[in-house]
């Protein structure tokens, strides 16, 4: 495969100003990541700060409900409440070793923003976070946390004031300060080498999962189900299984209210290959190539692009692209609450919903792993509000 490419996807479509920063990053990652020192520090932080390994939990009550064995890979237990910290710690540590003084990033739900300022503080780096003005309002509680932790939060008014616009703005900011500042991108998106770096840092999920499921079941799972937009939690879980053809891989994106173009974030269903934020990937766009905003109540899935690697894996048929609609998602939240006492993040609930809504995909003796990417504390308000709305049409 070409450098920075996954099949036809990927690449480094950025302004010349940023190329040097990406090349510097590529070089640094190649040089620093494999060193024993980096590995020791990274895995030390993952363990002692992050709380890894996260458990693989056999969800007995939920399994009974669906009729086959379901395990949850508990990324919700990672410090900060989602898988985001795996990547944030890795990149912050890398940035520090590259001599950077400052981190910038964008965030929608705030999970990645939080992870970034946490990692930044641990590594002694300043943090500035760009956030669509609408997301600043919608995710007020996470904004407060980021501020409390010492991050500067910059509301982005451009465009629709959502994640897509915040990413653009962060890329612009980076153009102005890339010598001192690292853009700590939050998912397997953006220009090369970001998708590769993020997937590498996240693949700790799958490595643990593999060991754990072998320990518990004596065999590989039959299926792994993960939600996603950029694809970082999914790739993190999938990577060590891509060559294991017996393991079915499901990628669940935000279906939104319905599968219509105006109400969805399902880029694999409604999109086509295109270039956004520096990479070629599956993306929601109109016939002229103007990027279309995505729409889903799960802020973390509200991005019109699918990272290059997941785009490729779906294209070649190794991963099955799926989606879950809002009403299925809210039902899934309720079911997970009642059976296992766990409030899933709305993003994560998409994976749960797919398992609940598609029993035909699974056999009674299947061992299914849901990559349980995050906890739903941040979403409680939305869940209660939307449940009310959905119940009173």
């Amino acid at each position: 495969m070409k450098r920075g490419r996954y099949g036809r996807y990927g690449g480094m479509y950025v302004g010349e100003v940023l190329v040097h920063a990406l090349l510097e990053l590529e070089e640094a990652f190649k040089r620093i990541y494999p060193t024993e020192e980096f590995q020791r520090e990274f895995h030390g932080l993952l363990r002692d700060y992050g709380g890894r390994p996260t458990p693989l939990y056999y969800a007995r009550n939920f399994s009974k409900l669906v009729g086959f064995k379901v395990y949850l890979k508990r990324e919700d237990l990672l410090c900060g409440g989602s898988h985001k910290l795996n990547n944030a710690l890795g990149q912050a540590l890398l940035a520090k070793k590259m001599g950077k003084r400052r981190l910038i990033t964008e965030t929608a739900a705030g999970q990645h923003g939080l992870a970034t300022v946490m990692a930044g503080n641990v590594c002694g780096l300043e943090t500035e976070i760009f956030m669509g003005i609408k997301d600043v309002q919608r995710q007020a509680s996470n904004v407060k946390k980021m501020v409390l932790l010492g991050a500067k939060v910059k509301p982005v008014k451009a465009g629709a004031g959502v994640l897509k616009d915040a990413v653009s703005e962060t890329l612009r900011e980076w153009a102005a300060c890339s010598r001192t500042t690292h853009y700590l991108i939050g998912s397997t998106v953006g220009p090369h080498p970001f998708p590769e770096i993020v997937a590498t840092f996240q693949s700790i999920i799958g490595e643990e999962l593999r060991k754990q499921v072998l320990e518990k079941e004596g065999r590989l799972p039959d299926a792994i189900v993960a939600c996603g937009s950029g694809g970082s939690n999914a790739l993190g879980a999938f990577r060590p299984f891509i060559k294991e053809k017996s393991v079915r891989l499901y990628f669940v994106e935000g279906g939104g209210e319905s599968r219509g173009a105006e109400n969805s974030a399902a880029a694999f269903q409604l999109g086509s290959p295109g270039v956004l934020h520096g990479g070629l990937m599956m993306v929601l766009q109109d016939t002229w190539g103007q990027i279309r905003p995505s729409k889903t109540r799960a802020a973390g899935l509200n991005y019109p692009g699918r990272g290059p690697e997941i785009s490729h894996l779906c294209e070649v048929g190794r991963v099955k692209p799926c989606y879950a609609l809002d009403h299925e998602v809210f039902k899934a939240v309720r079911m997970m609450c009642r059976t296992e006492g766990l409030i899933p993040a709305l993003e994560t609930a998409h994976a749960v919903a797919y398992v609940l809504s598609n029993p035909d995909e699974f056999d009674p003796d299947d061992v299914v792993v849901i990559n349980y990417s995050g906890r739903g504390d941040k979403d409680v308000e939305t869940i209660l509000r939307c449940e009310r709305e959905l119940n009173t049409p």
Partner: protein
């Protein structure tokens, strides 16, 4: 004919001891009628080359002024096809003014790069500038463009390494676009002394005309940059800013824009004269 018009333009300017004034406009902001009037005003008040921008939804190399311009234009329903059609019209009225179609890579990618370039050629434009297509990604398309007698304008930046600079210079066609600063369009260029060193470095590596853009908003800066060795300057946000602040009736802004265009052009001329006469100092 296509690509040569640009080369001839630089040749002519050199002969007349003038720096080139490249004027960048996002087409369709706030409406097509105005854009056409704006370009007319620019052409008639000192713009030598028109960078005609096809608005894109996510212009990551552009600052707030151009972002807003793209948004307004898209909201107004302008399409890449309408932009290319406008280029064709301009070609008819200003036969001597080279036109560079500027847009982000997804626009030609979705249309199909071949097809897109055919349209560009058919419209009578001389080339394309795609800010998110660095040389590595541009390479597969360079031959194609050459065959169609179109330029792919490549950019260099203060952050570009020597090695990359050589590679870009080798692939450059039409002119080299030097980004004056680390940042996006519309950023104010605060000091011109740093950029002078970069200009010298680039000129040492390449014989192709060098146009400097980003942050140039007055004649003084244009003059200093041309004096430092550039073959021209590109000005965009400075023009858009003037009419964007006059949302009520942007046409009212045209006289002021004409004035600025004059001033920039004057700077391009004075700069070259200064270079020829004295060692340049910073303003």
């Amino acid at each position: 004919m296509n690509s040569t018009l640009l080369e001839e333009k630089f040749e002519g300017l050199r002969r007349r001891f003038e720096g080139a004034h490249v004027a960048h406009v996002y087409y369709g902001d706030p409406c097509e009628r105005f854009s056409l009037k704006l370009i007319e005003t620019l052409c008639e008040n000192g713009a030598d080359i028109i960078e005609l921008g096809i608005p894109f939804s996510d212009p990551i190399a552009d600052g707030p002024i151009f972002q807003a311009a793209c948004e307004r234009a898209l909201k107004n329903g302008v399409t890449p096809a309408r932009c290319l059609e406008a280029a064709r019209k301009l070609r008819d009225s200003y036969a001597e003014t080279p036109i560079i179609i500027t847009t982000y890579f997804n626009v030609p990618y979705i249309m199909g790069f071949h097809k897109f370039m055919d349209y560009v050629r058919a419209a009578g434009a001389q080339g394309v500038l795609i800010p998110d297509l660095p040389v590595e990604e541009a390479e597969p398309y360079l031959n194609l463009a050459a065959k169609k007698q179109l330029h792919i304008i490549l950019q260099v930046a203060p952050t570009t390494s020597e090695r990359r600079l050589r590679r870009i210079a080798n692939s450059a066609s039409g002119f080299l676009y030097l980004i004056s600063l680390e940042g996006v369009t519309g950023t104010t260029l605060k000091r011109t002394d740093a950029i002078k060193r970069v200009v010298k470095k680039v000129k040492a590596k390449s014989a192709i005309p060098l146009v400097v853009g980003f942050g140039i908003m007055d004649g003084k800066r244009a003059e200093a940059i041309v004096a430092a060795g550039a073959d021209g300057v590109a000005v965009g946000s400075a023009y858009t800013k003037i009419y964007a602040e006059r949302r009520g009736n942007p046409l009212d802004a045209l006289p002021e824009i004409a004035g600025l265009a004059h001033e920039i052009k004057l700077g391009c001329i004075l700069g070259l004269h200064k270079r020829q006469s004295t060692p340049s100092t910073c303003f």
